[in-house]
Structures are given as structure tokens and as C-alpha cells.
């Protein structure tokens, strides 16, 4: 019992030390990958709220990362601080995410997947075609790295610590949100909307909130993504990123709080480890996803839970 209770904090401490110290031993590309992991984890945590906790499928999360990235890129290249880009990006994510929730009031499951997929395509077309604003296919180059409390983050290592700090902040904020009545309302909504109604949950309102908050967290990730890559064009925000984020959530463990940490690590690292296999890495990745979907409905975090609780896994 007490060993089990200490396992969580012990793992947390080990992971924190790893995340703080490992990059000191890495060179540019490794640090970039870890930064990318932190950014994608933020976006996947947002999707995990919408999908894993509130039960609403979204295939548009990549486009919300795009909204944040464009907001940050446009404002910071015009000389505004990144903080403003973040505020605008998150604000836009909230509004557009709220609107994206309306179809979810009428359709569910695979129909909702198609509707959100359509929304992703629509947003992608805005990024690509409205070149007066977004630079169209030429994109936006020269995105500056922010100064944080007067400290320049041009150095990759310093910028990595900024990404990590953002990830920890988002993790803390989402943790608090999920422990609040909102978190319980989202869970009840996911488990069964009709049954949730008699517990006093306004399922309409929480469906919209799940999309708005989850999408806004995606946009926040985008506002960190833009200064990380320093050049954005529309193509990363086509359907590919949305699918990738969805897989991160599912492989890590949908509705498992730290699932996206694991899912994003696999999505970022696997292509590197499987580089020897050339183009075959996608095949391996696809196989992994299929195996997880078939054998591990709780994702990789589900295994940890099973080990901890004995045979019968119980969420929460």
C-alpha cells in the first residue's frame, strides 16, 4: 500500500530530473526534439480534455495549434511581445473552439469526427488562402524568440526550459481544472450524457466548454510552437497534425492525465529510433497504434494502472 502510494511521486521526481538534466547532455537536434515534445504534449493535453475527459472526438486540434502559431507569429514579427500573441491565440482558440462545439450538440462519434475534420480543412484553407494576413504558402519567416523577464531565449537550451515551464504550467492548470466540479462534470458527460443530466449537469454547456478549453490549450501550444520553429507555413496544420495528436492521446491513454506525455514522447521519438527503417517507420507506428487499440483500451498509461491496481483497471 505505502509503496504504491509513493510510486507516483517517485516517478514524478525521476521524470522531472530527467527532463531538467537530459537536455544538458544533448546537442541542438536532441534539444529541439525535446522542445517539440513539450509543445506537442501541451496540444495533446488539450485534446485529452476534449476527448479523454469529456468524450468529444475532435480531428481539428492541429488547426487550433495553427491558430495559436499564426497569432504568435503575426504579432511577434510585428514587434509585439509573445505574451500578447499568447493572449490573442488563446482567445481565438476559445472562441473558435466554442463554435466547433455546436455540431457536437447534434452529432457524436464518427459523425463528429467528420464534422471536425471538415473544420480542420476549413481553417487550413484560411491559413493557405488568406495570404494578405498569413503570407499564404510562403508562410511567415523570422519569428523571434521571446524575452522572459528580460532573459533572451534564443539559445535552444534556454528556449527548451521555456517550453518545459509552459508544459508544467498547463499541466498544473489542467490538473486543478479536472479536480474542480468542472472536471467531474466532464467525466459524467463522457460516461453518459443522459445520466449526467439528472445529476444537474447542463450537458450542452459542458460540451461547448470541453471544445473551447481543449482547443484553447491547443492554440496555446501553437503560440510556443511558432517561436520554436521560427518559420511557419500552412502545411503542418493540415489534417496530419490533428491525426497525430489524436494518436498521441489514444496511444498514451485517453482520459489518463499523463497519457499525452507518453503518447507525445512516442510520436516524437519513434520516427527517430526507427530512422534505420527508412520509410517503414510509419508502418511500425501504425502497427503500434493498432496493437494499442486492440489490446490496451486504456493506452500505455492503462498498463501502469493495471499493474498498480491488480487485474481490474478502474479509471480515477
Amino acid at each position: 500500500m505505502s509503496a504504491g502510494r509513493l510510486a507516483g511521486p517517485a516517478i514524478g521526481l525521476a521524470v522531472t530530473i530527467l527532463l531538467l538534466l537530459l537536455p544538458l547532455t544533448l546537442r541542438g537536434y536532441g534539444i529541439y526534439l525535446m522542445s517539440l515534445w513539450a509543445v506537442l504534449t501541451i496540444a495533446a493535453m488539450g485534446l485529452n480534455l476534449t476527448l479523454g475527459y469529456a468524450g468529444q472526438v475532435s480531428l481539428a486540434q492541429g488547426a487550433f495549434v495553427g491558430i495559436g502559431a499564426y497569432a504568435a507569429a503575426l504579432l511577434t514579427t510585428a514587434g509585439w511581445p509573445l505574451a500578447l500573441g499568447m493572449a490573442v491565440g488563446v482567445g481565438l482558440g476559445l472562441i473558435v473552439g466554442w463554435l466547433l462545439g455546436y455540431p457536437a450538440l447534434r452529432v457524436q462519434h464518427h459523425y463528429l469526427a467528420f464534422v471536425t475534420l471538415g473544420a480542420n480543412t476549413l481553417l487550413f484553407l484560411v491559413f493557405r488562402n488568406e495570404d494578405w494576413l498569413t503570407g499564404g504558402v510562403y508562410g511567415i519567416p523570422g519569428i523571434p524568440r521571446p524575452r522572459i523577464f528580460g532573459l533572451a531565449t534564443d539559445d535552444p537550451l534556454v528556449f527548451y526550459y521555456f517550453c518545459l515551464a509552459m508544459l508544467l504550467l498547463v499541466t498544473l492548470a489542467l490538473g486543478l481544472l479536472l479536480r474542480s466540479p468542472w472536471g467531474r462534470a466532464f467525466e459524467a458527460l463522457r460516461e453518459n450524457p443522459v445520466r449526467a443530466e439528472s445529476l444537474g449537469i447542463d450537458t450542452r454547456r459542458y460540451t461547448l466548454l470541453a471544445f473551447a478549453i481543449g482547443s484553447a490549450v491547443g492554440s496555446l501550444a501553437g503560440t510556443v510552437y511558432a517561436p520554436l520553429v521560427q518559420y511557419i507555413d500552412p502545411y503542418p496544420f493540415a489534417l496530419g497534425m490533428s491525426l497525430n495528436l489524436l494518436l498521441m492521446v489514444v496511444v498514451g491513454g485517453s482520459g489518463r492525465f499523463f497519457g499525452p506525455w507518453l503518447g507525445a514522447a512516442i510520436a516524437v521519438l519513434l520516427p527517430e529510433w526507427l530512422r534505420f527503417s527508412e520509410g517503414l517507420y510509419l508502418v511500425f507506428y501504425a502497427l503500434l497504434v493498432i496493437l494499442v487499440l486492440v489490446f490496451l483500451p486504456g493506452g500505455l498509461m492503462g498498463i501502469a494502472e493495471r499493474l498498480r491496481l491488480g487485474r481490474r483497471p478502474v479509471a480515477g
Partner: protein, 241 residues
């Protein structure tokens, strides 16, 4: 004039789409009583509770609770005022643990003492306490109904609406559930229940209500209804007279 009833329903009209099911139902539930609604299938009993609890918008009439007009208020507002509802059939989240299901009874509220309340309920119902960490789906049908009732008690209600709590339960389990409902009355919680098991339900009730074709045909002390030969023939399978 007697003190105002805890719940007073006046000429309530409700339905689905083009059909009207409740056609002006009126009834009262006094504080500290168990009141049972009986009536044939399709009479509109469940519809009555849904309309009272704000799950179905009333099309006419009034509902008053604890001296306040609550017609058409949302379930959340009613829960906050001490009116809770356990619907017909299964209402748990079967994948979640017993404890987690209890916690979700307060899903719409921020309770600072949530853990203490959950612990108190788990202690009060040892069947649940012993199974707190298990998935709700492993509970028997009766234990699941008990968990639903316990979950409704999390908000410390003044009136519990419960729709056919004995549905699908063994006679033994039915008696246990009824015993829990009467124990609630003794703790000052009023109960309004719907039952097909009219004979045993009226046997533990203070007041009976007969609902027929969307109207209340009769509201009377439970003993009188049990003794009424017409009611016996109509709703109780004819075995009473």
C-alpha cells in the same frame, strides 16, 4: 389551513413533441412522508417526475417546492434546493468505481466537504463501503440501485424522487430498498416514489396517488387505497378485495 406541502404540483401538463401525456396532474407531498404513485403502464408516471425535475419542459401548470415556485427550473437549480431524482432503470456510470460514482453525485457543485460526505455514505451503507474501489458494474442490481440512492443522498436532499426503485430486483432486495426509503423518512427526508409493486410499496407508504391517463385519479392515505376494491382490480392485479 394546514401548512403548505413540501411539494405541490398543480394542473401540470407535459408531453413529447405533438403528444400530450400529462393532462393537468395535481398532487401534494407532505414533509416527512413516503408517497407512492401507482398507475398502469403509460399513465405518465415517469413523465410526471421528469417534468417536475426540469428534464422535460412543462407546458402548463405549476410546481412549488418548499414554498417556492420551481416550474421548469433546471435540474441543477432543483438539486441546489434539496430536490433529487433517481430515474427509472440504470443510472450509474458502470466503468467507474463505486466511490467515483458517489462523487459524481455532486458533479454540478463545488462541495468543500465532498470527501467527508462520500466517506460518511460509504460508512452508512457498508455494502458499498466494502466495494468502494470496485467498478460499479460488478455490483448486483440491488446494490446498484442502492448506490444510485446513496449518490442522490450526497447532496443532503429534503425530497427524493425515485422512479420504480424495485424494477428488476428480487423480493428480498426490494424489501431492503424499501427499508432504506422508510429510514430516510425517519431522518426527515420525504420520498416520492413510483412503483409497479403497488401492494408492497403502498404497504410502507403514508400516502398513495393513483395516476391514470395523465391525471391524478385519487390521492389518499395509502391504507385506504390498499383497501379500495376498485383500485385493487384496476392496478393491483385484482388480488386485494
Amino acid at each position: 389551513m394546514a401548512a403548505e406541502a413540501l411539494l405541490a404540483v398543480e394542473d401540470l401538463v407535459a408531453g413529447y413533441g405533438p403528444v400530450t401525456i400529462l393532462r393537468g396532474a395535481s398532487l401534494e407531498v407532505a414533509a416527512g412522508t413516503v408517497t407512492t404513485v401507482i398507475g398502469p403502464n403509460g399513465a405518465g408516471k415517469s413523465t410526471l417526475m421528469k417534468a417536475v425535475f426540469g428534464l422535460l419542459p412543462p407546458r402548463g401548470g405549476r410546481v412549488r417546492f418548499a414554498g417556492e415556485e420551481i416550474t421548469g427550473r433546471s435540474p441543477r437549480e432543483l438539486l441546489a434546493r434539496g430536490l433529487v431524482f433517481v430515474p427509472q432503470g440504470r443510472n450509474l456510470f458502470p466503468e467507474l468505481s463505486v466511490r467515483h460514482n458517489l462523487e459524481l453525485g455532486a458533479a454540478a457543485f463545488a462541495l468543500s466537504d465532498l470527501d467527508a460526505r462520500v466517506d460518511a455514505l460509504l460508512a452508512r451503507f457498508p455494502v458499498l463501503g466494502e466495494r468502494a474501489g470496485m467498478q460499479a458494474s460488478v455490483l448486483s442490481g440491488g446494490e446498484q440501485k442502492l448506490l444510485e440512492i446513496a449518490r442522490a443522498l450526497l447532496l443532503e436532499p429534503r425530497l427524493l424522487l425515485v422512479d420504480e426503485p424495485s424494477l428488476g430486483l428480487s423480493p428480498k432486495m426490494t424489501r431492503e430498498i424499501f427499508a432504506i426509503l422508510t429510514a430516510l423518512r425517519d431522518r426527515g427526508v420525504a420520498v416520492l416514489m413510483i412503483e409497479q409493486n403497488a401492494k408492497s410499496a403502498l404497504g410502507i407508504s403514508d400516502v398513495g396517488i393513483v395516476l391514470d391517463q395523465g391525471r391524478v385519479a385519487l390521492q389518499a392515505p395509502a391504507g385506504e387505497i390498499l383497501a379500495d376494491p376498485r383500485i385493487g382490480r384496476l392496478f393491483l392485479g385484482g388480488g386485494l378485495a
